[in-house]
Symmetry: C2
Subunit: 199 residues, 2 copies
Protein backbone atom coordinates (compact mmCIF):
# COMPACT_ATOMS: atom_id res chain seq x y z
CA UNK A 1 0.00 0.00 0.00
CA UNK A 2 1.20 3.48 -0.89
CA UNK A 3 1.31 5.90 2.04
CA UNK A 4 0.13 9.43 1.36
CA UNK A 5 2.73 12.12 2.01
CA UNK A 6 3.27 15.51 0.37
CA UNK A 7 6.23 14.02 -1.56
CA UNK A 8 4.43 10.88 -2.78
CA UNK A 9 0.75 11.44 -3.58
CA UNK A 10 -1.26 8.36 -2.71
CA UNK A 11 -2.77 6.31 -5.50
CA UNK A 12 -6.05 6.21 -3.66
CA UNK A 13 -5.96 10.00 -3.53
CA UNK A 14 -5.40 10.30 -7.27
CA UNK A 15 -8.09 7.76 -8.11
CA UNK A 16 -10.72 10.02 -6.61
CA UNK A 17 -9.90 12.88 -9.00
CA UNK A 18 -11.90 13.50 -12.17
CA UNK A 19 -9.11 12.59 -14.60
CA UNK A 20 -8.78 9.20 -12.92
CA UNK A 21 -12.52 8.61 -13.14
CA UNK A 22 -12.20 9.15 -16.86
CA UNK A 23 -9.35 6.63 -17.04
CA UNK A 24 -11.31 4.14 -14.93
CA UNK A 25 -14.24 4.37 -17.33
CA UNK A 26 -11.98 4.00 -20.32
CA UNK A 27 -10.25 0.97 -18.85
CA UNK A 28 -13.58 -0.67 -18.00
CA UNK A 29 -14.86 0.06 -21.51
CA UNK A 30 -11.77 -1.47 -23.12
CA UNK A 31 -12.21 -4.64 -21.07
CA UNK A 32 -15.92 -4.96 -21.83
CA UNK A 33 -15.57 -4.17 -25.56
CA UNK A 34 -12.81 -6.79 -25.76
CA UNK A 35 -14.77 -9.50 -23.97
CA UNK A 36 -18.30 -8.76 -25.21
CA UNK A 37 -17.88 -6.89 -28.47
CA UNK A 38 -19.31 -3.48 -29.31
CA UNK A 39 -23.02 -4.30 -29.70
CA UNK A 40 -23.57 -6.00 -26.34
CA UNK A 41 -21.56 -3.55 -24.25
CA UNK A 42 -23.80 -0.93 -22.66
CA UNK A 43 -22.72 2.40 -21.15
CA UNK A 44 -24.47 1.24 -17.96
CA UNK A 45 -22.36 -1.93 -17.76
CA UNK A 46 -19.21 0.12 -18.27
CA UNK A 47 -20.23 2.48 -15.45
CA UNK A 48 -20.92 -0.47 -13.14
CA UNK A 49 -17.56 -2.07 -13.90
CA UNK A 50 -15.75 1.22 -13.36
CA UNK A 51 -17.68 1.81 -10.13
CA UNK A 52 -18.97 5.23 -11.19
CA UNK A 53 -22.36 6.83 -11.63
CA UNK A 54 -23.86 5.99 -15.02
CA UNK A 55 -24.27 9.69 -15.85
CA UNK A 56 -20.49 10.14 -15.87
CA UNK A 57 -20.03 7.99 -18.98
CA UNK A 58 -21.94 10.31 -21.37
CA UNK A 59 -20.52 13.28 -19.41
CA UNK A 60 -16.97 12.30 -20.36
CA UNK A 61 -17.46 10.52 -23.69
CA UNK A 62 -20.74 11.72 -25.18
CA UNK A 63 -22.01 8.42 -26.52
CA UNK A 64 -20.97 4.81 -27.05
CA UNK A 65 -19.11 5.71 -30.23
CA UNK A 66 -17.07 8.33 -28.38
CA UNK A 67 -16.45 5.84 -25.58
CA UNK A 68 -15.18 3.26 -28.08
CA UNK A 69 -12.84 5.75 -29.78
CA UNK A 70 -11.43 6.74 -26.38
CA UNK A 71 -11.18 3.14 -25.14
CA UNK A 72 -9.25 2.14 -28.26
CA UNK A 73 -7.13 5.30 -27.97
CA UNK A 74 -7.92 6.33 -31.53
CA UNK A 75 -6.34 9.76 -32.09
CA UNK A 76 -9.06 10.85 -34.54
CA UNK A 77 -12.78 10.40 -35.02
CA UNK A 78 -13.30 8.95 -38.51
CA UNK A 79 -16.77 10.53 -38.66
CA UNK A 80 -15.26 14.00 -38.12
CA UNK A 81 -12.78 13.33 -40.90
CA UNK A 82 -15.67 12.43 -43.22
CA UNK A 83 -17.70 15.44 -42.07
CA UNK A 84 -14.77 17.74 -42.83
CA UNK A 85 -14.33 16.19 -46.29
CA UNK A 86 -18.06 16.51 -46.98
CA UNK A 87 -17.86 20.31 -46.86
CA UNK A 88 -17.52 21.61 -50.41
CA UNK A 89 -18.78 20.65 -53.88
CA UNK A 90 -19.68 16.99 -54.39
CA UNK A 91 -17.43 16.61 -57.43
CA UNK A 92 -14.41 17.11 -55.16
CA UNK A 93 -15.59 14.79 -52.37
CA UNK A 94 -13.52 11.79 -53.52
CA UNK A 95 -10.31 13.80 -53.57
CA UNK A 96 -11.04 15.40 -50.19
CA UNK A 97 -11.83 12.01 -48.64
CA UNK A 98 -8.67 10.42 -50.04
CA UNK A 99 -6.60 13.42 -48.93
CA UNK A 100 -8.05 13.48 -45.41
CA UNK A 101 -7.67 9.73 -45.01
CA UNK A 102 -4.14 9.34 -46.35
CA UNK A 103 -2.65 12.45 -44.72
CA UNK A 104 -4.07 11.40 -41.35
CA UNK A 105 -2.72 7.84 -41.64
CA UNK A 106 0.66 9.07 -42.85
CA UNK A 107 1.02 11.89 -40.33
CA UNK A 108 3.67 11.52 -37.61
CA UNK A 109 1.10 12.67 -35.00
CA UNK A 110 -1.89 10.41 -35.60
CA UNK A 111 -0.38 7.76 -37.91
CA UNK A 112 1.40 5.50 -35.41
CA UNK A 113 -1.64 5.18 -33.10
CA UNK A 114 -3.96 4.43 -36.05
CA UNK A 115 -1.56 1.89 -37.49
CA UNK A 116 -1.16 0.21 -34.10
CA UNK A 117 -4.92 0.08 -33.70
CA UNK A 118 -5.39 -1.41 -37.18
CA UNK A 119 -2.77 -4.05 -36.50
CA UNK A 120 -4.47 -5.15 -33.28
CA UNK A 121 -7.89 -5.01 -34.98
CA UNK A 122 -6.86 -7.54 -37.61
CA UNK A 123 -4.56 -9.66 -35.44
CA UNK A 124 -6.55 -9.99 -32.23
CA UNK A 125 -9.86 -11.88 -32.38
CA UNK A 126 -11.52 -9.82 -29.66
CA UNK A 127 -10.43 -6.47 -31.04
CA UNK A 128 -11.51 -7.64 -34.50
CA UNK A 129 -15.02 -8.41 -33.33
CA UNK A 130 -15.41 -5.11 -31.51
CA UNK A 131 -14.01 -3.14 -34.45
CA UNK A 132 -16.18 -4.99 -36.98
CA UNK A 133 -19.30 -4.32 -34.95
CA UNK A 134 -18.31 -0.71 -34.30
CA UNK A 135 -17.79 -0.14 -38.04
CA UNK A 136 -21.08 -1.81 -38.96
CA UNK A 137 -23.33 -0.25 -36.34
CA UNK A 138 -22.07 3.28 -35.99
CA UNK A 139 -19.46 4.19 -38.58
CA UNK A 140 -21.16 3.17 -41.84
CA UNK A 141 -24.51 4.87 -41.12
CA UNK A 142 -22.66 7.95 -39.89
CA UNK A 143 -20.35 8.10 -42.90
CA UNK A 144 -23.35 7.67 -45.22
CA UNK A 145 -25.19 10.51 -43.48
CA UNK A 146 -22.19 12.85 -43.28
CA UNK A 147 -21.15 12.32 -46.89
CA UNK A 148 -24.67 12.17 -48.32
CA UNK A 149 -24.16 8.73 -49.89
CA UNK A 150 -25.98 5.39 -49.56
CA UNK A 151 -24.89 2.87 -46.93
CA UNK A 152 -23.93 0.49 -49.75
CA UNK A 153 -21.53 3.08 -51.14
CA UNK A 154 -20.24 3.84 -47.64
CA UNK A 155 -19.58 0.11 -47.26
CA UNK A 156 -17.63 -0.07 -50.52
CA UNK A 157 -15.61 3.07 -49.72
CA UNK A 158 -14.80 1.86 -46.22
CA UNK A 159 -13.60 -1.52 -47.50
CA UNK A 160 -11.53 0.30 -50.15
CA UNK A 161 -9.80 2.57 -47.63
CA UNK A 162 -9.53 -0.17 -45.02
CA UNK A 163 -7.88 -2.30 -47.74
CA UNK A 164 -5.37 0.44 -48.54
CA UNK A 165 -4.54 0.91 -44.86
CA UNK A 166 -4.01 -2.82 -44.34
CA UNK A 167 -1.88 -3.17 -47.47
CA UNK A 168 0.19 -0.07 -46.66
CA UNK A 169 0.60 -0.37 -42.87
CA UNK A 170 0.02 -4.01 -41.89
CA UNK A 171 1.26 -6.03 -44.88
CA UNK A 172 3.65 -3.27 -45.99
CA UNK A 173 3.18 -4.39 -49.60
CA UNK A 174 5.77 -2.55 -51.73
CA UNK A 175 3.14 -1.44 -54.29
CA UNK A 176 1.46 0.45 -51.44
CA UNK A 177 4.47 1.59 -49.40
CA UNK A 178 6.76 2.83 -52.16
CA UNK A 179 4.26 5.55 -53.13
CA UNK A 180 4.32 8.92 -51.34
CA UNK A 181 1.21 10.29 -49.62
CA UNK A 182 0.61 12.56 -52.63
CA UNK A 183 0.99 9.72 -55.14
CA UNK A 184 -1.52 7.64 -53.16
CA UNK A 185 -3.94 10.59 -53.13
CA UNK A 186 -3.52 11.00 -56.91
CA UNK A 187 -4.33 7.32 -57.43
CA UNK A 188 -7.23 7.05 -54.98
CA UNK A 189 -8.90 10.46 -55.23
CA UNK A 190 -10.45 10.07 -58.72
CA UNK A 191 -11.37 6.42 -58.07
CA UNK A 192 -13.08 7.17 -54.76
CA UNK A 193 -14.96 9.88 -56.69
CA UNK A 194 -15.97 7.33 -59.36
CA UNK A 195 -17.53 5.13 -56.66
CA UNK A 196 -19.37 8.15 -55.22
CA UNK A 197 -20.63 9.16 -58.68
CA UNK A 198 -21.96 5.63 -59.22
CA UNK A 199 -24.13 6.01 -56.09
CA UNK B 1 12.57 -45.55 -37.69
CA UNK B 2 9.89 -47.07 -39.91
CA UNK B 3 10.77 -50.50 -41.26
CA UNK B 4 9.85 -51.16 -44.86
CA UNK B 5 7.48 -54.08 -45.34
CA UNK B 6 4.75 -54.63 -47.97
CA UNK B 7 2.17 -53.67 -45.33
CA UNK B 8 3.88 -50.47 -44.16
CA UNK B 9 5.63 -48.57 -46.94
CA UNK B 10 8.77 -46.92 -45.59
CA UNK B 11 8.92 -43.15 -45.39
CA UNK B 12 12.32 -43.17 -47.01
CA UNK B 13 10.87 -45.17 -49.89
CA UNK B 14 8.05 -42.66 -50.44
CA UNK B 15 10.38 -39.68 -50.29
CA UNK B 16 12.14 -40.88 -53.43
CA UNK B 17 8.92 -40.82 -55.49
CA UNK B 18 7.95 -37.87 -57.70
CA UNK B 19 4.95 -36.78 -55.60
CA UNK B 20 7.21 -36.51 -52.58
CA UNK B 21 9.75 -34.48 -54.51
CA UNK B 22 6.92 -32.06 -55.23
CA UNK B 23 6.08 -31.89 -51.51
CA UNK B 24 9.74 -31.43 -50.60
CA UNK B 25 9.99 -28.47 -52.96
CA UNK B 26 6.78 -26.99 -51.65
CA UNK B 27 7.91 -27.33 -48.05
CA UNK B 28 11.29 -25.76 -48.82
CA UNK B 29 9.54 -22.92 -50.65
CA UNK B 30 7.20 -22.26 -47.75
CA UNK B 31 10.16 -22.05 -45.34
CA UNK B 32 12.17 -19.74 -47.58
CA UNK B 33 9.22 -17.46 -48.44
CA UNK B 34 8.45 -17.19 -44.73
CA UNK B 35 12.01 -16.36 -43.69
CA UNK B 36 13.15 -14.29 -46.68
CA UNK B 37 9.98 -12.92 -48.25
CA UNK B 38 8.91 -13.35 -51.87
CA UNK B 39 11.37 -11.08 -53.66
CA UNK B 40 14.60 -12.53 -52.29
CA UNK B 41 13.61 -16.18 -52.57
CA UNK B 42 14.94 -17.72 -55.80
CA UNK B 43 13.81 -20.97 -57.41
CA UNK B 44 17.46 -22.07 -57.24
CA UNK B 45 17.59 -21.54 -53.46
CA UNK B 46 14.37 -23.53 -53.06
CA UNK B 47 15.82 -26.40 -55.13
CA UNK B 48 19.00 -26.39 -53.04
CA UNK B 49 17.06 -26.46 -49.78
CA UNK B 50 14.82 -29.27 -51.05
CA UNK B 51 17.88 -31.17 -52.29
CA UNK B 52 16.58 -31.51 -55.84
CA UNK B 53 17.78 -30.52 -59.28
CA UNK B 54 16.92 -26.90 -60.05
CA UNK B 55 15.06 -27.92 -63.24
CA UNK B 56 12.45 -29.76 -61.15
CA UNK B 57 11.08 -26.53 -59.64
CA UNK B 58 9.76 -25.05 -62.93
CA UNK B 59 8.85 -28.61 -64.00
CA UNK B 60 6.40 -28.94 -61.11
CA UNK B 61 5.33 -25.33 -60.52
CA UNK B 62 5.94 -23.40 -63.75
CA UNK B 63 7.32 -20.21 -62.23
CA UNK B 64 7.88 -18.46 -58.93
CA UNK B 65 4.27 -17.31 -58.80
CA UNK B 66 3.02 -20.89 -59.22
CA UNK B 67 5.49 -22.02 -56.58
CA UNK B 68 4.20 -19.40 -54.15
CA UNK B 69 0.54 -20.34 -54.75
CA UNK B 70 1.39 -24.01 -54.15
CA UNK B 71 3.57 -23.28 -51.11
CA UNK B 72 0.76 -21.25 -49.54
CA UNK B 73 -1.75 -23.95 -50.51
CA UNK B 74 -3.96 -21.43 -52.29
CA UNK B 75 -6.76 -23.38 -53.95
CA UNK B 76 -7.08 -20.93 -56.84
CA UNK B 77 -4.83 -18.74 -58.94
CA UNK B 78 -6.13 -15.15 -58.65
CA UNK B 79 -4.68 -14.35 -62.08
CA UNK B 80 -6.78 -17.12 -63.67
CA UNK B 81 -9.86 -15.76 -61.94
CA UNK B 82 -9.14 -12.33 -63.41
CA UNK B 83 -8.37 -13.82 -66.85
CA UNK B 84 -11.72 -15.64 -66.81
CA UNK B 85 -13.56 -12.45 -65.80
CA UNK B 86 -11.76 -10.48 -68.54
CA UNK B 87 -13.45 -12.55 -71.26
CA UNK B 88 -16.51 -10.64 -72.49
CA UNK B 89 -17.48 -7.01 -73.02
CA UNK B 90 -15.68 -4.43 -70.91
CA UNK B 91 -18.91 -2.89 -69.59
CA UNK B 92 -19.59 -6.16 -67.72
CA UNK B 93 -16.05 -6.62 -66.36
CA UNK B 94 -16.83 -5.14 -62.93
CA UNK B 95 -19.76 -7.47 -62.39
CA UNK B 96 -17.82 -10.51 -63.62
CA UNK B 97 -14.86 -9.65 -61.36
CA UNK B 98 -17.10 -9.17 -58.31
CA UNK B 99 -18.99 -12.38 -59.10
CA UNK B 100 -15.83 -14.45 -59.61
CA UNK B 101 -14.22 -13.05 -56.49
CA UNK B 102 -17.17 -13.35 -54.11
CA UNK B 103 -18.39 -16.77 -55.28
CA UNK B 104 -14.87 -18.18 -54.95
CA UNK B 105 -14.39 -16.77 -51.44
CA UNK B 106 -17.85 -17.91 -50.36
CA UNK B 107 -17.66 -21.37 -51.91
CA UNK B 108 -17.46 -24.37 -49.56
CA UNK B 109 -14.65 -25.82 -51.72
CA UNK B 110 -12.16 -22.97 -52.03
CA UNK B 111 -13.45 -20.55 -49.37
CA UNK B 112 -12.01 -22.06 -46.19
CA UNK B 113 -8.47 -22.36 -47.59
CA UNK B 114 -8.57 -18.78 -48.90
CA UNK B 115 -9.93 -17.44 -45.64
CA UNK B 116 -7.28 -19.36 -43.66
CA UNK B 117 -4.59 -17.96 -45.93
CA UNK B 118 -5.88 -14.40 -45.56
CA UNK B 119 -5.98 -14.72 -41.80
CA UNK B 120 -2.37 -15.89 -41.62
CA UNK B 121 -1.36 -13.21 -44.16
CA UNK B 122 -2.62 -10.40 -41.93
CA UNK B 123 -1.77 -11.97 -38.56
CA UNK B 124 1.68 -13.38 -39.16
CA UNK B 125 4.50 -10.91 -39.87
CA UNK B 126 6.44 -13.26 -42.12
CA UNK B 127 3.42 -14.37 -44.14
CA UNK B 128 2.38 -10.72 -44.42
CA UNK B 129 5.71 -9.72 -45.92
CA UNK B 130 5.72 -12.56 -48.44
CA UNK B 131 2.10 -11.92 -49.42
CA UNK B 132 2.64 -8.17 -49.74
CA UNK B 133 5.66 -8.69 -51.98
CA UNK B 134 3.89 -11.40 -53.98
CA UNK B 135 0.93 -9.08 -54.59
CA UNK B 136 3.15 -6.15 -55.56
CA UNK B 137 5.60 -7.94 -57.82
CA UNK B 138 3.50 -10.49 -59.64
CA UNK B 139 -0.23 -10.11 -59.01
CA UNK B 140 -0.79 -6.43 -59.76
CA UNK B 141 1.09 -6.38 -63.09
CA UNK B 142 -0.64 -9.63 -64.09
CA UNK B 143 -4.10 -8.41 -63.10
CA UNK B 144 -3.50 -5.17 -65.02
CA UNK B 145 -2.41 -7.10 -68.11
CA UNK B 146 -5.19 -9.71 -67.93
CA UNK B 147 -7.96 -7.15 -67.34
CA UNK B 148 -6.56 -4.49 -69.67
CA UNK B 149 -6.41 -1.81 -66.96
CA UNK B 150 -3.62 0.38 -65.56
CA UNK B 151 -1.55 -0.82 -62.62
CA UNK B 152 -2.96 2.08 -60.58
CA UNK B 153 -6.49 0.82 -61.17
CA UNK B 154 -5.39 -2.76 -60.45
CA UNK B 155 -3.96 -1.49 -57.17
CA UNK B 156 -7.21 0.24 -56.21
CA UNK B 157 -9.33 -2.78 -57.18
CA UNK B 158 -7.09 -5.19 -55.29
CA UNK B 159 -7.22 -3.05 -52.13
CA UNK B 160 -11.02 -2.82 -52.53
CA UNK B 161 -11.48 -6.59 -52.80
CA UNK B 162 -8.82 -7.32 -50.20
CA UNK B 163 -10.68 -4.92 -47.89
CA UNK B 164 -13.97 -6.76 -48.46
CA UNK B 165 -12.35 -10.12 -47.80
CA UNK B 166 -10.74 -8.89 -44.57
CA UNK B 167 -13.97 -7.26 -43.36
CA UNK B 168 -16.09 -10.29 -44.26
CA UNK B 169 -13.81 -13.18 -43.26
CA UNK B 170 -11.23 -11.87 -40.76
CA UNK B 171 -13.08 -9.15 -38.83
CA UNK B 172 -16.50 -10.70 -39.53
CA UNK B 173 -18.03 -7.19 -39.47
CA UNK B 174 -21.84 -7.61 -39.49
CA UNK B 175 -22.27 -5.11 -42.35
CA UNK B 176 -20.18 -7.47 -44.48
CA UNK B 177 -21.28 -10.88 -43.14
CA UNK B 178 -25.05 -10.39 -42.98
CA UNK B 179 -25.25 -9.93 -46.77
CA UNK B 180 -25.56 -12.98 -49.03
CA UNK B 181 -23.07 -13.63 -51.82
CA UNK B 182 -25.59 -12.23 -54.33
CA UNK B 183 -26.23 -9.09 -52.28
CA UNK B 184 -22.49 -8.48 -52.06
CA UNK B 185 -22.18 -8.93 -55.83
CA UNK B 186 -25.05 -6.46 -56.38
CA UNK B 187 -23.29 -3.89 -54.17
CA UNK B 188 -19.75 -4.36 -55.49
CA UNK B 189 -20.32 -5.16 -59.19
CA UNK B 190 -21.38 -1.66 -60.35
CA UNK B 191 -18.84 0.05 -58.11
CA UNK B 192 -15.94 -2.10 -59.32
CA UNK B 193 -17.12 -1.19 -62.82
CA UNK B 194 -17.11 2.52 -61.91
CA UNK B 195 -13.45 2.25 -60.88
CA UNK B 196 -12.64 0.44 -64.14
CA UNK B 197 -14.49 3.09 -66.19
CA UNK B 198 -12.47 5.84 -64.45
CA UNK B 199 -9.26 4.21 -65.70
Amino acid sequence: MVVSTPETPARSGRRAGPSTTRDDIRRAARELFASGGFDKTTMRAVATRAGVDVALVPYYFGNKRGLFLAAMELPIDPAELVAAAARGPREGLGLRLATGFLTTWDSPESGPALQGFLRSAVVDDYAARAFGEFTSRTMLPLIAAEAGISEDTARVLSSMLFGVATMRYVLAAPAFTRASTQEMIDVYGPRVQAVIDAD
